[in-house]
């Protein structure tokens, strides 16, 4: 069960650390794919990573359909 999906737009511009719990998911989009976070529950927008030629493990990559599926199942989505 996903509580909050956080969409992160800028490199290393993460929400307040205490805000993220185990049930939350971070998705790096746009330039945020340039730096990878040190926490565990993160994914990246596949198209934004591939377009920028940034290597991110396949298992971390989500296409837009995946992102919308996650958002639908979550309690809310926050673009940080």
């Amino acid at each position: 069960m996903v509580d909050t999906v956080y969409l992160i737009k800028k490199p290393a511009d993460f929400p307040i650390a205490t805000l993220i719990s185990d049930n939350d998911v971070l998705i790096l989009i746009q330039d945020a794919v340039l730096r990878q976070p040190s926490i565990d529950n993160w994914y990246a927008c596949k198209e934004d990573a591939v377009a920028r030629a940034i290597k991110i493990p396949e298992s971390r990559l989500l296409d837009y359909d995946d992102i919308l599926n996650l958002i639908e199942k979550a309690n809310k989505v926050v673009v940080w």
């Binding site: 509580d3 307040i16 205490t18 805000l19 809310k76 926050v78």
Partner: protein
Amino acid sequence: MAKKNAVCIIKSNPFSWKTFEALRQAVGMAMDHNVSVVFIKDGVFALTNWHPEMIGVPSFDKSIEALAMLGGKIYVDKNCLDDRGIVKLKDFGVEIFTKSEEEVCKLIKSAEVVLIW
């Protein structure tokens, strides 16, 4: 139509049009929803005695008043004020509540809609 708990987080400094638009949005929402506006990071400069008209930006004092009148709540992160050496807030004629980072997180977690500016 559902009345929602909406939280508007203002993290950018107010020295462009962003905060003005954010507060206009918050006022609109306060007619239907429970709205909390939270100033964090450089957003806290919005509550100081600065002079928007000097740099071609409109004042949002009226939005702050309207927000309070419609039952919206205004919060500011205490740590972010301290970090910036801000000791005195401008008197908008409305109550501004200080919150700890932990309390701000709780507010965000319990919200149904969160809009970050």
